[in-house]
Amino acid sequence: MVKVENLSFSYEKDSLLLDNLSLSFLPEKVSVILGRNGAGKSTLLKCLCKALIPQQGKVFLHGKDIALWNEKQIAKKIAVVRQESHYIFPYTVLDIVQMGRTPHLNFLSILCDEDRKIAYNSLEMVGMKSFAHRKIQELSSGEKQMVLLARALCQSPEVLLLDEPNTHLDLNNQWNLLSLLSRLCKEKKWTVVAVIHSPEIAYWLADYVFMLHKGKLAFSGPTREVMIEKNLSTIYEMPMKIYALQEKHIALVPDLKL
């Protein structure tokens, strides 16, 4: 379990990007963070993996303060998948996935056969084994995101943080990526925390939703309870209307009288 206590972060002295947040993310559950641009979603994610050091407050993983851990100790437990990575050299897919083994290697050691086996298995889990020797630049955005997910798998973490993983993907690829993520969360007993822009996708994917508004935690709880018109209208600062489509799907439209 990831627990955040009284977390505050700011780049400048007077404007707090995150203001005294306290929340918990549960294992085997997908938690989604929603909010407007600049609400502090990505900043929170960066604080969760110590990419940013908060001015106040603490992040605990299984009751241990991650501020006391070094990069390697954190990477053994927490994997991060970003929107898209930029590669300056034409690595193969296998090269990229194998980099996920880094936290499990000693300072001077190089990859062994066991690491390669884990990398191949990770690629197989995301259905990309046949791409292992393809150059990463030759892949589509959707395929690249699958590779990053495979790298996270290769890292063997307990917590997976995703920062808008579906932003550049078409509907089909979004569906493939997120349904795989949902399945892996249960299989691997991961604590998944994702920043996602689309409330419709969050409704379908998330077990728990955390809504940020101007750096503060506005609403949080089980998806069905929290994702209601009133809450969504508050965090997006515009009237919203929810139309239920199927059991796990909604359509969200602005309720504007033009």
Binding site: C49, A51, N70, E71, K72, I74, A75, K76, I78, A79, V80, R82, S85, H86, Y87, I88, F89, P90, Y91, T92, D95, M99, G100, T102, P103, L105, F107, L108, S109, I110, L111, K135, Q137, E138, Q155
Partner: protein
């Protein structure tokens, strides 16, 4: 799979052929048989310095020169590869942090103050090269962190300052003796290399190259960028410092003896990546090998094609520039057009 047996075999053939050519060709052509005969006599202690025949200069001149060419080629290629990963820029060469202008300045100061002993020029060049990189790193830290962009900017500042001072020294130097000496030093060459120079460079280069080789896996991560490398468990600031220190030592130790040798640090890493693989655990040792071979052949060319030895900096640029242009065109077909 990338370093298949045939690749390795081909490399070893070219490498030993280059050594054989370099041993036998030059001002005096020496047969391989005589080379081995001299080496055997030397090892048995039967070759005294006073009874050196024209053939025996193999021991005193050619062998240290060959070893130095191997060291310089491997060093420049390895540090070029390191810096390209560190700065996430495929067009970076080892002098980005100001080591070459610093070393040139050091050598020019030594020449200006008439320290004609080669060892003084080398020591000064080495010291000033290291000093330039130190100032670059401190300036980057002082101006808000050791991010890649701050290092590049600081490198530009320090390089420009060193180049300006170098120009000042050139301007004030005696145009008949000191100025040609400075210019000739800057063109690069292995003409001054003997066992003494080799013993100065060998421990430093071995240590630096050894550490770079052992840490080569981390180059892959560094090339992804700070944030991603950190999330994969790397202490980016520490690793960057380690690579900068060892690359600087390696390059400083070699260019302080040979002068500035351009193009190798830029081109050879790309040749290694294109022909072998981008995975630096594999391509780094290959770059070192290819660089060593390349410089050995260039040096043999430099002292055989004309009666007067040509500075190797000229030949590396003459061969390196068109070859790099060829690679840029060839690269498109190998997925390199999407940097």
């Amino acid at each position: 799979m990338f370093c298949s047996f045939s690749y390795k075999k081909m490399f070893l053939v070219v490498f030993f052929l280059s050594i054989a050519l370099s041993l036998t060709l030059g001002r005096y052509t020496v047969s391989l048989g005589n080379v081995f005969w001299d080496i055997q006599r030397y090892l048995q202690g039967n070759l005294a310095f006073q009874d050196l025949s024209p053939d025996s200069h193999v021991i005193l001149i050619r062998i240290p020169r060959i070893l130095m060419a191997i060291l310089v080629g491997a060093s420049l290629s390895a540090s070029g590869m390191v810096y390209q990963c560190l700065f996430r820029n495929p067009l970076v060469s080892p002098d980005i942090l100001g080591i070459s202008p610093g070393a040139c300045l050091g050598a020019a100061i030594a020449i200006l103050f008439s320290y004609r002993h080669p060892f003084m020029i080398q020591s000064c060049a080495f010291f000033f090269g290291i000093l330039a990189v130190f100032f670059t790193y401190r300036l980057a830290l002082f101006s808000g962190g050791h991010t890649v962009i701050m290092l590049v900017m600081s490198g530009i500042v320090v390089s420009s300052f060193c180049t300006a001072l170098l120009s000042l020294i050139k301007y004030t130097a005696d145009p008949y003796s000191q100025l040609p000496a400075i210019v000739f030093w800057m063109m690069g060459g292995l003409h001054q290399v003997g066992w003494k120079e080799l013993t100065f460079a060998l421990p430093l280069v071995s240590l630096g190259l050894g550490m770079i080789y052992l840490l080569r896996r981390n180059l892959n991560l560094l090339s992804l960028g700070d944030e991603e490398a950190r999330s994969l468990g790397m202490n980016v600031a520490l690793m960057r410092l380690i690579f900068i220190v060892f690359s600087t030592v390696v390059v400083g130790a070699t260019i302080s003896i040979t002068g500035v040798v351009g193009w190798i640090g830029l081109v050879i890493p790309h040749i290694s990546r294109i022909t072998i693989t981008s995975d630096h655990t594999v391509s780094l040792p290959w770059a070192m090998g290819i660089g060593a071979c390349f410089l050995l052949l260039i040096d043999t060319l430099a002292r055989t094609i004309t009666p007067q030895e040509i500075p190797i900096g000229i030949i590396t640029a003459l061969i390196g520039a068109p070859f790099f242009a060829y690679l840029l065109i060839f690269r498109k077909e190998r997925g390199w057009g999407k940097w």
